[in-house]
């Protein structure tokens, strides 16, 4: 099936070329990091995780969201999703690949990476994160490829794939739960020390992932001339609506608990993010944009007639994506580190090189996504014809 990825229009090859350029730029920037160490980033002794780990956290959510189509399709036999499910699974593959790349670029000693396997340490959540992420990558490649192949041949998928599909459901939940556990099990980091972190992560994932998938469906429809189907997009839109409301609800639960109890070690992080602390307020405008974008998206999505209009729905999806990306890709990680354990305020602002490396990883992810989508859409068109 891969041969479908090497036959394409000028536009396709132009896009591939652009992504390769992005990967090359990122790699070039990474050579500086290899040479000079992580000193080329904006990270510090106080904010020791930055943009890389934040993107990793956000993308785990995007990956996990494929389950929102797997459940209706395989547990409720909702056949409408049969047509677009492969797009969700391949999005998960690309997203997990980016997650793994972001972890690698964040390491101070990447050449020692395999120490995690050489000295397996089950008491560390990072050990489990490695297992669930790699497992999820494997599951989605396997399931996506096997079901697509069966579709191409015009037969039912083999029976042996079913257990893997069922396994992928709790596995999807596990990747984001374990990723939340990385943070919420740490004493002395009040911002993350909350049992609602994992549910919040999942809610934001089930909003951002399907929202992004709707946008991808529109892109596929326009550029690849293949229609994923109106009903599938409408069902995804309902999922986004429920999830973004749940996400904002969970955020309000968090704000109530922290705001009403007024325990400084929890409250100060929220104060810093939304209002600034000791004159440092770099993230405040962003955080408000996140909240307002989320609320605006809810306001739009709540009304079915808005969802039925492609343009309005696409705009709402952009708002959902923006809201959840700022929340997790910017605020969630650096907000947890400011103020530091000595209640000092040291801000984190990513450097240009750091952003270029991030761009390179995203380009690599979109390259994987483009190639997989080219294959999937190629097969779908062949079957339709």
């Amino acid at each position: 099936m891969l041969e479908k990825a090497i036959k394409g229009s000028k536009l396709y090859w132009g896009w591939i070329g652009l992504l390769l350029l992005g990967v090359a730029t990122g790699f070039f920037a990474y050579t500086f990091q290899m040479k000079e160490g992580l000193s080329i980033t904006g990270m510090s002794r106080d904010v020791s995780w930055g943009f890389y780990i934040a993107q990793f956290t956000f993308l785990v959510g995007v990956a996990a969201s494929a389950v929102m189509m797997v459940i209706p399709k395989y547990l409720h036999h909702y056949q409408t999703f049969g047509r677009v499910l492969i797009l969700g699974e391949f999005l998960a593959v690309a997203a997990v690949s980016m997650c793994l790349l972001f972890i690698v670029v964040d390491l101070g000693q990447p050449q020692r990476m395999l120490n995690v396997l050489l000295h397996p340490t089950p008491r560390s959540i990072l050990f489990w994160d490695m297992i669930v992420l790699n497992g999820y990558l494997f599951l989605n490649i396997l399931i996506g490829w096997v079901t697509l192949q069966a579709e191409r041949k015009g037969v039912e998928p083999p029976k042996w794939i079913k257990p893997f599909i069922y396994l992928s459901i709790p596995w999807a939940v596990s990747i984001h739960t374990v990723t939340a556990f990385l943070y919420c099990g740490l004493p002395g980091r009040g911002f993350w020390l909350t049992a609602i972190l994992a549910p919040r992560f999942l809610a934001s994932a089930f909003a951002s992932g399907p929202a992004f998938l709707i946008l991808l469906c529109y892109i596929v429809k326009i550029f690849a001339k293949w229609d994923p189907g109106k009903e599938a997009i409408q069902s995804l839109a309902k999922i986004v609506t429920y999830a973004i409301i749940t996400n904002l609800f969970f955020l309000s639960l968090e704000i109530f608990t922290v705001g009403y109890s007024q325990i400084p070690s929890h409250l100060l992080h929220f104060k810093y993010l939304f209002f600034g602390l000791e004159g440092h307020a770099t993230y405040a405008p962003w955080m408000w944009v996140s909240v307002v974008a989320g609320l605006l998206a809810v306001l739009i999505l709540l009304f079915p007639q808005n969802r039925k209009s492609d343009n309005v729905l696409a705009m709402a999806c952009v708002l959902v994506f923006l809201s959840t990306w700022i929340d997790k890709g910017m605020g969630m990680i650096s907000g947890g580190f400011v103020p530091n354990p000595l209640e000092e305020v040291v801000e984190y602002i990513p450097t240009k090189l750091e952003l270029l490396i991030t761009l390179g990883v995203y380009a690599a992810g979109f390259l994987i996504l483009t190639i997989l989508y080219k294959v999937a859409v190629g097969v779908k068109k062949e079957v339709d014809a």
Binding site: G37, R45, S48, R112, N115, L186, R189
Partner: protein
Amino acid sequence: MRANRRKFLKIAGLATLGWSVFPNLLRASEGGEGAGHVRWGLAIDTKKLNDEVMEKAIVACHKNHNVPHIPDKREIKWLWKTTFHKAFPGQMLDNMHISEYAEKETLVLCNHCDNPPCVRVCPTKATFKRADGITMMDFHRCIGCRYCMAACPFGARSFNFYDPKKFLKSEEITTQFPTRTKGVVEKCLLCYERLDEGKKPYCVEAAEGVIYFGNLNDPESEIRKVLAERYAIKRKPELGTFPSVYYLI
């Protein structure tokens, strides 16, 4: 002769086999002095602590451990000065009681917690607990994921964002202690290299009686006696990490 040689080879072979299969048995018989019964701890007498003593202790520690001086927020700190207000956040807010303490400076360092979160989270066991209570670092195993820095509630850990050798003058480097490489985490190791020789940590020596050092598990030790006599506090006791560093106030 032939039979003897054969016998010798047999015994030598078996011994090599035994050694390679159970290397720990051999090491156990070497015996660290009372390993398992010792828990090293520090008690800092904040009444006697002054700027001069703190500087002496910091210099002794950083000089002898090749800790570079990096003039930005990516600095390396093993032992440093901070105010009580920052070392004990939340405990110094009430000006009614110990008001003179809030803005006073004190020394902070790795607490060598009895229940260390940094050890719990490390995915490679590069940071681990020694039988004598020291929270150790293996600079050669650390992959630089910095999970331990997120886990430490005391901000005791530093990451080598730079190559530390860039900030060390070659004539100042001591060959008695390894320098580190970029991309690994480091912190105070309670002078394990000196304890193994029966000496006290550099900071304790330099502070000349202001910092007490000893075995917290031995009721007869000097540190236990001073803790029995005077009021002492620990940093963030509510987190359940059980620090081994006390502050006499």
